[in-house]
């Protein structure tokens, strides 16, 4: 977006003006199409999935926002919604599902456990799925109400409308850092996994 605005400042003389307008038009059309027909891939592992189902059902009905079709195959999905806690045993699974999704793709981390590990600050739980896959929207709550998830979806719409087809910047952080499959550096993972809140009173040793 920034680049487009800069081009406009010298629009009077610039031959890029028409190109910029054209890119704007294309972006607007593409982003509107993408944002208004997101196909979610539900990755429900816990109680958040119950709220997710409520969001999908008739009372809240996220089909109103273009998520009519839930894609239970990652190959036909646009947005991965991780609803619930993610144990380490499922970490390679969600990474595989994410890798199988075609571009463009987005991730919503639904609930406290998916976002931070929540109350499960223990040996078995991933402390935030952003250590495994890049996350676009975090929805807090334990579990979030359907309104919360819908608000997250609307935020994702907003984010998608701000993207540009001619800007490869945001695709860069999807690639794992190294051949070990880590997407953050070990120091960063340790930092975001630090205990917080009540869990600081629990000790690493028994």
């Amino acid at each position: 977006m920034k680049r487009v605005v800069e081009t406009k400042e010298v629009a009077g003389q610039s031959p890029n003006y028409l190109l910029a307008k054209f890119q704007d038009l294309v972006d607007w059309a593409v982003n509107a199409s993408r944002a208004n027909s997101l196909w979610p891939m539900p990755f429900g592992t816990a109680c958040c999935a119950i709220e997710f189902m409520a969001t999908a059902a008739s009372r809240y009905d996220f089909a109103r926002f273009g998520m009519e079709r839930q894609a239970f195959s990652p190959r036909q999905a646009d947005v991965l919604i991780c609803a619930g806690r993610l144990p380490f045993k499922l970490a390679p699974v969600i990474r595989r599902i994410y890798d199988q999704m075609p571009q463009p793709k987005w991730v919503i981390s639904m609930g406290a456990c998916a976002s931070t590990g929540g109350i499960f600050d223990n040996y078995a739980m991933v402390q935030g799925i952003d250590t495994i896959v890049p996350v676009d929207v975090y929805v807090p709550g334990c579990p979030p109400r359907p309104e919360g998830l819908l608000y997250g979806v609307l935020l994702l719409h907003k984010k998608i409308r701000g993207e540009s087809l001619f800007d490869a910047e945001r695709r860069r952080d999807e690639q794992p850092l190294d051949d070990q499959g880590l997407r953050l550096s070990p120091a960063e993972i340790d930092e975001v996994s630090e205990p917080f809140g009540n869990s600081v009173h629990q000790f690493r040793s028994a």
Binding site: A91, R95, D121, T131, Q180, I189, D190, Q202, R204, A206
Partner: protein, 196 residues
């Protein structure tokens, strides 16, 4: 009745009124066989196998067996005590109740107790290459032994498909292992035609 159990050491009554019988470790299999096969006992259903480690380091680790007799509608708890400084091993009761298979695997996975004679003793909840130890032991740190980055790295490198078969087991494959009454019902066509 419980005084005749082979290897019986002592007995107490739990708060819910259920009888708990402590059995000598080396005579567990003998006691369990007696309980399953003696007329008047007939404990034909192994409800659960679990273990308890107490915060008091002096107290032994207990392996707990929940038995139920479906015919007599009676319950019994059997406990075996294992000293922590001793070898953590008991005989498997898999030969008496095949349902003990996964229950004993879970106790092995969480407590590191070996079940001698178990047909397939490997981890069941944690993945098979899990190297941090046995999570429900009291000396196991709550957040695991490795750093979070190392845990993420190991988890991502675990290949989940390496240890699981995607082959389906059909009724025809399992025919020999089915109980007689189930075979009778299947022969009557309850689930459609079963290939021989």
């Amino acid at each position: 009745m419980t005084s005749q159990i082979p290897g019986r050491l002592r007995e107490t009554v739990a708060r819910d009124g259920e009888t708990i019988v402590y059995v000598a470790r080396e005579r567990l299999l003998e006691a369990m066989t007696w309980l399953q096969q003696t007329p008047g006992q007939e404990y034909d259903y192994l409800v659960d196998v679990t273990a308890v480690e107490f915060r008091d380091r002096e107290r032994p680790i207990e392996v707990v067996y929940f038995l139920r007799s479906l015919t007599r509608k009676a319950d019994l708890r059997i406990k075996v005590e294992l000293q922590a400084n001793d070898e953590l091993a008991v005989d498997s009761v898999w030969s008496l109740w095949h349902g003990a298979d996964w229950l004993e695997r879970e106790v092995y996975d969480m407590f590191g107790i070996t079940f001698r004679g178990h047909p397939d003793l490997r981890r069941i909840l944690m993945w098979e290459t899990y190297a941090e130890g046995f999570p429900l032991r009291k000396d196991f740190p709550l957040r695991g032994r490795f750093s979070r980055a190392e845990q993420v790295r190991q988890a991502l490198n675990a290949n989940p498909e390496a240890h699981y078969s995607l082959d389906e087991l059909s009724i025809a494959d399992a025919w020999g292992d089915l109980p007689d009454d189930m075979r009778e019902r299947l022969k009557r066509g309850e689930r459609g035609t079963v290939p021989e």
